[in-house]
């Protein structure tokens, strides 16, 4: 795939090619469970997915997509400018190729010709510009507004070219265009016709959309990709109760599900009709301390709390081994510039006590807010943390917050709470989302001059080895001075019927990078 991609994309600058190729390894997850041996995909059948998210308030507007349910539906009915392939490379989708100026400031994107929307309209630069503008401007309600903030201007240059001008250099910009919020939709007179209609260029057309219940999709007969969209139709069910989901899979009501209950995963794996599939990517869980609030203003207190958690025990108990320990920074092992040589922080009550003493404290009592809305097992994780920290003279009082309103009421508000991050495919994206000074999701309210300086430098840097050095240093800074405990990176664990076949699974997101519907087939 990548060979062919390079030929068709036709980069003009060698450097970009180098970056692009290097970026190829980004987010290349480690597919752990071997999939069914590769065979030529067969056409036909109805793929039924059971997803542990979904709400009656869901809409087809990708700008407000927040959970896996709409992410999977969105990836079936929309196409994006770029795509992260199953091996973690960035490949063109509705873009055909891109080109950038040496300062990484102006990105020129050539669009694929002759692609049609479900409504028969041919996709052109006007649609792309309108689709991007949907997320920008004062009235935008898009969740992608923050990540598209670096765009100074987007304009069409003829029917098949779009030019993005950045406020500052941004070497990873094409990655951002693969974000699930930025579906390309048809426009008229510079405005999207109807962002809630579900009309896109994707491999499947919405037949019936019942928010919070089910979505039925049928194959797009005019789909431009010839090697995708194998099944005739698909049904996506929202089954939020994990037991119900598991039962539906074992009784054959659905063909695949996300978020297997880890406690019983080993029992599910015994079934002859079903197999477990697991990929490890960038999904991680954090315990975020507000560094602007006492006692977390003191880095010694933060370090004490970092040494007071037994990461191995959390991975073993909460993830039941379906994950790896974190090292108090948000960059996963599958990321391109992961700092492998940074020593792994260990559970060490004595060191925790040492840092407490340095902070001038004999003991410490803190409230820790958690809810299963943060991530499955967050409350249990808190209870375990409490037990670990007790040995270091730290009393953690676990407060079970209501699931309802967790993200608006607890996260970013409470001084110490459990947080879920899906992770981002690039270092810059992750750091500038949640660690840069003053960004809205900086949940630790952390300010570090050196870190922020490096962040901007690395973003505009096209030289891979220089970037590597910068990102290594940044991970070290976050780990040693940041406000976040990153105890673990969690695998995406899915249950799949043995009737279903697929290629190597994408590790960037659950369900084959959200693309199960267009990538999978029936064996």
């Amino acid at each position: 795939m990548s060979e062919e991609t390079r030929k068709t994309t036709g980069f003009t600058r060698r450097e970009v090619l180098a970056t692009g190729a290097a970026a190829g390894a980004i987010a290349a997850g480690l597919s752990i469970a071997p999939g069914i041996a590769r065979a030529a995909p067969k056409k036909g059948g109805t793929l039924r997915l059971g997803i542990g998210h979904g709400s009656t308030t869901d809409t087809l507007d990708t700008a407000t997509t927040t959970d896996l349910y709409m992410q999977v539906v969105g990836n079936a009915c929309y196409n994006y400018l770029t795509e992260v392939s199953n091996s973690g490379e960035l490949v063109p989708e509705l873009a055909q190729s891109w080109d950038v100026t040496p300062d990484a400031k102006v990105w020129t994107i050539k669009l694929r010709k002759g692609v049609e929307f479900h409504n028969g309209k041919t996709m052109d630069s006007g649609d792309v510009v309108a689709s991007i503008n949907h997320h920008l401007g004062e009235d935008s309600k898009s969740a992608a507004k923050a990540i598209l903030e670096p765009i100074a201007e987007v304009k069409a240059d003829g029917k098949d070219t779009v030019v993005f001008t950045m406020k500052t250099g941004n070497a990873d910009f094409p990655f951002i265009l693969s974000d699930y919020h930025i579906g390309i939709m048809p426009a008229k007179d510079g405005k999207l016709i109807d962002p809630m209609s579900g009309v896109g260029c994707g491999g499947y057309i919405i037949e019936n959309f019942e928010p919070g219940v089910r979505t039925t999709l049928k194959r797009n007969p005019n789909y431009w990709k010839t090697d995708r969209a194998h099944v005739d139709s698909a049904e996506v069910l929202s089954i939020t109760d994990v037991t119900a989901r598991t039962n539906a899979l074992t009784t054959g009501e659905i063909d695949a599900m996300d978020k297997v209950d880890l406690k019983t995963a080993h029992l599910l794996a015994r079934s002859k009709k079903v197999r477990l599939e697991e990929v490890s990517g960038t999904q991680h869980f954090t315990f975020a301390m507000r560094t602007d609030t006492d006692p977390f203003t003191d880095n010694n207190v933060r370090l004490a709390l970092k040494y007071a958690v037994d990461r191995e025990a959390l991975v073993k108990t909460i993830l039941l081994g379906h994950g790896v320990v974190g090292n108090d920074h948000p960059i996963g092992r599958s990321n391109q510039y992961h700092a492998d040589d940074l020593p792994q922080r260990q559970y060490d009550p004595d060191k925790a006590k040492f840092h407490l003493k340095k902070a001038g404290l004999d003991s410490l009592k803190v409230d820790f807010s958690a809810a299963d809305a943060a991530f499955a097992g967050a409350v249990d994780a808190g209870v375990l943390y409490k037990e670990h920290a007790a040995k270091a003279g730290i009393d953690i009082n676990v407060v079970r917050e209501p699931n309802d309103g967790y993200w608006s009421n607890v996260w970013l508000k409470k001084p110490f709470c459990a947080v879920y991050w899906g992770g981002r495919p690039t270092e810059d994206w992750m750091f500038s989302t949640a660690y840069a000074d003053g960004v809205p999701w900086n949940d630790t309210y952390w300010k570090h001059d050196r870190f922020n300086k490096l962040l901007v430098e690395a973003r505009g840097e096209l030289d891979g080895s220089k970037r590597r050095g910068m990102y290594f240093e940044m991970q070290k800074i976050v780990s040693e001075e940041g406000g976040v405990v990153v105890p673990m990176f969690a695998n995406y664990v899915m249950g799949v019927s043995n009737k279903v076949a697929h290629d190597k699974l994408g590790a960037n997101w659950a369900l084959d990078g959200f693309r199960a519907i267009e990538r999978w087939w029936f064996a």
Partner: protein
């Protein structure tokens, strides 16, 4: 003492069984900390260890001793359920009887107030209040008691509605007895049986309600052990025929059966039917 003994001797075996269960639960609840091999939230092994030495009933999803959790669960759950139900009956019962005895506008006012409370789906109401106030134990008790009391009110009212129109109540009124006297001396004794039967059931509804709340992520604060949440935490296992979640559920069921056996005995005694067997 001799009287109690005589009473017990006359009780049917089911009632004795019920009394024994209740007594055992109360003892366990009171002396819990002495009986348990480990601390309430102490992590003592790896998760889901099998039954056997060290852990008589195995360990739970975090590696805490199941038996210990069950015993502490008895303490917390029975205590909360008992206080809540008593409070609910106090509020609901008194208001219900007052409504029928006073009649007129008092009845209307109370009736409409309860209508409003009951017309709001109970789970949604609890969700609204608990999300705003947080789920500390006193708040939980108060919220469930108030919500439950509306059900008690309705029952008390409908039962006593049949009684207030009876002649002896009329007579008491004519004698000029006060409202409170009429309620406690004339109406309550006659309204007691259905109310007691209701008590037996309401008691176990409290467990269930707490467990339903834990389904929505509200419920008792960790690491406090309570049976409702324990069922929820381990429920998935039942799908694979593992009976771990049956333990807390069984504990609730046994108590419910026990309490209701005693209630039945009481009903039988107060009904005054001669045992025709």
């Amino acid at each position: 003492m001799a009287q109690i003994w005589k009473l017990l001797k006359s009780a049917p075996p089911t009632a004795l069984f019920g009394l024994a269960v209740i007594a055992a639960y109360i003892l366990v609840a009171i002396f819990g900390p002495l009986l348990t091999p480990y601390g309430e939230s102490e992590i003592v092994g790896s998760q889901f260890e099998l039954w056997g030495e060290g852990f008589v009933l195995g360990t739970d999803n975090l590696g805490r001793d199941m038996l210990t959790r069950l015993i502490y669960g008895a303490r917390n759950t029975i205590g909360i359920a008992f206080v809540t139900t008593c409070l609910a009956f106090l509020i609901g019962g008194v208001l219900g009887l007052l409504a029928t005895t006073l009649g007129g506008w008092a009845d209307q006012l109370l009736g409409r107030l309860v209508d409003v409370l009951m017309a709001i789906p109970i789970l949604i109401f609890a969700l609204l209040i608990l999300t705003i106030t947080g789920t500390s134990v006193p708040v939980l008790i108060l919220v469930i008691a108030v919500l439950d009391s509306t059900r008690v009110f309705r029952l008390a009212r409908s039962v006593s509605m049949n009684i207030v129109v009876l002649d002896f109540v009329e007579a008491a009124r004519l004698r000029g007895e006060g409202t409170w006297w009429i309620i406690t001396r004339e109406i309550l004794p006659n309204a007691m049986p259905p109310l007691v039967a209701e008590f037996g059931l309401r008691f176990c509804f409290v467990f269930l309600f707490i467990s339903a709340l834990s389904f929505l992520g509200l419920g008792i604060q960790p690491p406090t052990a309570d049976w409702g949440s324990m069922v929820r935490d381990n429920a998935t296992l039942i799908t694979y025929g593992d009976i771990t979640p049956l333990l807390p559920a069984g504990a609730i069921a046994l108590l419910t059966v026990g309490v209701n056996f005693v209630v039945d005995w009481f009903l039988h005694k107060t009904s005054g039917i001669r045992d025709d067997k």
